[in-house]
């Protein structure tokens, strides 16, 4: 139903920017959203030698790495990239109003549902012509991740990182543990670690998203990739026996997780792995950031989440992917296309990875010779995967995952009884959210 704009045409935007303003200020203490909502683009309108780019790479390491990519692009094409960097979280919170206002020509974003959502809303430009050039650089799974619901390309992936179970090689060697490949072996290993006075699985869910990752792993190992996608898309039911099975398995493993997870950040949980108090930790490769001592980092290793149902084995890998999109009406489209083509080349990825070794290239053609052993392993895991998932909040509606799933899983983690009530509550809320 379309509404008559009268009466709402004025309050709408002012209210939204207001709320965003309040929210941004409250959450981050930074009162700049009104400015950033209309930032970028200005002045570069008529200049064919400039492409504006909205960046969420506000941390020092990625910011510098991206700057080097843009410098290389300028050298090659003569086009200047006018970067408009915003705080990472602020960028995410304001992406809505940013894309509806006067966005930059090209902007940073995430693959998966989050990309498809804005593509379907007409807030991005399809870039099939870019993919005609760069298509050969990427494996099939990455191509799938870059397409909108209409089958057209909207996204150029740059880097990715897998989720897996991390451990210390020295701890496994000292105690004679072996990498588990099946669920039973995993449970047996947990029991053994407990006997050895180790916390079997480090866990911190204070930020509410890490538990989503545990759910993802158990779900696609138990029910396969296709069911996982259906569930994330709101098509499958949360009261399905298949979902119940996931929670039953999780409840079996939960006693081996670190106590008091809801009050602990992932950084603190990672410290228990660093200090060898915990045996394993399920997280993305960014856990390496917590290993500040090089010797400790060299001791870090990981293995894929063990097989649960042999029908699905370990063929699905959770690998959130970050990259770029083109906004709905770029001022310099030709330049933006050229930039995206450059970003899709192995060279661009290599420049990035040299500066930020916690992730791996999305392209299979990138030179892996400078990779650390950990990066090499991550790269092999991703390129060998039959299907790639993103992460629950990237594969499903973010409003559903943040307002329903995050609190629900925190509740489950703290008190695994009462799953049935929890699941029917999730299902009821899901229906209303996906219906809107």
């Amino acid at each position: 139903m379309h509404l008559t704009p009268s009466g709402l045409s004025i309050p709408g935007p002012s209210r939204r920017t207001m709320l965003r303003g309040i929210g941004g200020a409250a959450a981050l203490g930074a009162g700049v959203p009104l400015l950033s909502a209309c930032g970028g683009g200005s002045g570069s309108a008529a200049d064919p030698k400039t492409v504006s780019l909205g960046s969420n790479a506000s941390d020092a390491v990625p910011k510098k790495a991206f700057a080097e990519i843009y410098a290389a692009f300028k050298k090659q094409s003569g086009i200047t990239v006018d970067v408009n960097t915003k705080d990472h979280n602020t960028f995410q919170e304001q992406i809505n109003s940013y894309l509806q206002g006067t966005p930059d020509d090209v902007f940073h974003w995430f693959a998966g549902y989050r990309m498809q959502f804005f593509a379907a809303k007409g807030l991005a430009t399809e870039i099939d012509e870019v993919w005609d050039k760069i298509g050969g650089n990427f494996p099939e799974a990455m191509k799938g991740l870059s397409k909108g619901e209409d089958g057209k390309y909207y996204f150029v992936p740059l880097y990715t990182y897998p989720w897996a179970l991390f451990y210390r090689k020295s701890v496994f060697a000292e105690k004679g543990y072996e990498v588990p490949t099946t669920w039973d072996e995993l449970v047996a290993l947990c029991k053994q670690m407990e006997k050895d006075k180790l916390v079997p699985i480090a866990f911190g869910d204070k930020d509410a998203w890490p538990a989503l990752g545990t759910f993802d792993q158990i779900n696609f190992r138990t029910n396969g990739y296709d069911f996982h996608v259906e569930l994330m898309a709101g098509k499958a039911s949360w009261t399905d026996a298949k979902v119940r099975k996931v929670f039953d398995l999780w409840a079996e493993l939960l006693p081996y997780h670190q106590e008091g997870a809801v009050g602990r950040t992932w950084q603190d949980a990672a410290q228990t792995l660093v200090s060898k108090k915990a045996g394993m930790y399920l997280l993305g490769t960014f856990v390496g950031q917590q290993f500040t001592n090089q010797a400790d980092l060299d001791d870090l290793d990981f293995f894929a989440f063990p097989e649960i149902d042999p029908a699905y084995g370990q063929d699905t890998v959770e690998a959130p992917t970050d990259g770029f999109m083109m906004s709905k009406a770029p001022k310099n489209k030709a330049g933006a296309v050229e930039l995206l083509e450059f970003l899709g080349t192995p060279e661009a990825e290599q420049i990035y990875l040299k500066a930020d070794p916690n992730v791996v290239a999305a392209s299979t053609k990138a030179d892996t010779s400078s990779y650390s052993p950990l990066q090499k392993k991550a790269f092999e895991m991703i390129s060998g995967a039959k299907s790639l998932t993103q992460f629950m909040d990237r594969d499903s509606r973010p409003d559903f995952t943040s307002t329903v799933m995050q609190p629900a899983l925190q509740k489950f983690v703290r008190d695994p009884k009462g799953v049935d009530n929890l699941l029917s509550s999730i299902e009821r809320q899901k229906k209303t959210i996906f219906a809107s």
Partner: protein, 328 residues
């Protein structure tokens, strides 16, 4: 209090001579000079009064009314085409299937009750003690008031260092960060609200102390003398003489505390983002509205509930205040 003369007959009639005199002088002055304001003055005044009015209407009234309107719609914040009117559906969902809503209402009430029962009497007690001109009273006053100066967000960070279950002060001291006997101050829903309320009370007591100190300063010393002469002891004096004179202060304290309980947000948001056990209405509003694909209609519905609760508290207060003024 001393404005009664306006209604008395004496005051209604102008002082002899002044009325007609003013009229005659008025008539003598040329017409052009009757306007005391030049065009520029009027423009300045217009801007000074007009701009804030426009801003106020646009940013307060229009947004509040738009919020109420949107509570009856679903909207993801992208384009106006996507606004869908759904009637009372948001409220129905809120009251029936949102597992966080009723806990949030309950926690807002607990927040108010706790603030009024613990830090408020404590603040009164401190104020009475400091009012006795004891030695170093300024030092104590400063110490107790200090938390009020610090922003709630910073208080949240500071108390997290105390409560952190792994590395925090309390658990490190009592050894409750070991597997087996582990106290999760932040994650356990039976504990976390109270843990936060202690931090909130820590600040609120200083606030209340200052309000009561100001109230006590205005108590007429002769009342104390009189009660001393009558042979009342300290407690009797306080109970029967001092406390009744603090009535206006108590009203202010009540209103301030209600407002504090309804707007509670920053401390909890910093502490654990309103996870299980610490849900608050303000946090639910934020969680639903902020983000990339927001549930603006749903969040607005929660905001409307918060607004209704606020009005239910504020309107009786305003009525009572106005009635008092009219009587005076």
């Amino acid at each position: 209090m001393t404005t009664t003369p306006t209604t008395s007959p004496e005051a209604a009639t102008p002082p002899p001579g002044s009325g007609p005199a003013a009229e005659t002088t008025d008539k003598k002055v040329p017409r052009g000079h009757r306007r005391l304001l030049t065009r520029r003055d009027r423009l300045t005044l217009g801007l000074m009064a007009g701009l804030p009015t426009i801003l106020h209407v646009a940013l307060v009234w229009v947004t509040a009314l738009a919020s109420i309107a949107l509570a009856f719609a679903t909207w993801d914040g992208i384009g106006f085409d996507s606004i869908k009117w759904v009637g009372l559906q948001n409220f129905r969902e809120l009251f029936t299937i949102n597992p966080q809503f009723w806990p949030a209402v309950q926690h807002n009430i607990i927040w108010f009750a706790a603030l009024i029962l613990i830090p408020t009497p404590l603040g009164l007690f401190l104020a009475v003690q400091l009012d006795k001109q004891i030695r170093f009273s300024r030092v104590y006053q400063t110490a107790f008031f200090l938390p009020v100066v610090v922003s709630m967000a910073v208080i949240g960070f500071v108390w997290q260092l105390v409560y952190n279950p792994d590395t925090g002060l309390i658990n490190s001291l009592i050894g409750a960060n070991q597997p087996g006997h582990y106290i999760d101050w932040i994650g356990d829903p039976d504990l976390n609200l109270w843990a936060i309320l202690i931090a909130a009370s820590w600040r609120h007591a200083g606030y209340m102390m200052i309000l009561y100190l100001a109230g006590l300063k205005s108590v007429d010393p002769s009342l104390r003398e009189a009660s001393a002469l009558d042979g009342a002891n300290e407690w009797q004096t306080f109970k029967s003489v001092i406390f009744p004179t603090l009535r206006p202060t108590n009203t202010v304290v009540l209103v301030v505390t209600i407002i504090e309980a309804l707007r509670a947000f920053d401390l909890v948001f910093v502490f654990n983002k309103g996870a299980e056990g610490t849900e608050l209405l303000s946090i639910l509003v934020t969680n639903n509205i902020i983000g990339e694909s927001s549930r603006i209609g749903y969040g607005s519905a929660i905001a409307v509930v918060l607004l209704v609760i606020s009005l239910a508290v504020i309107i009786p207060y305003l009525i009572a205040t106005f009635r008092k003024e009219r009587q005076a």
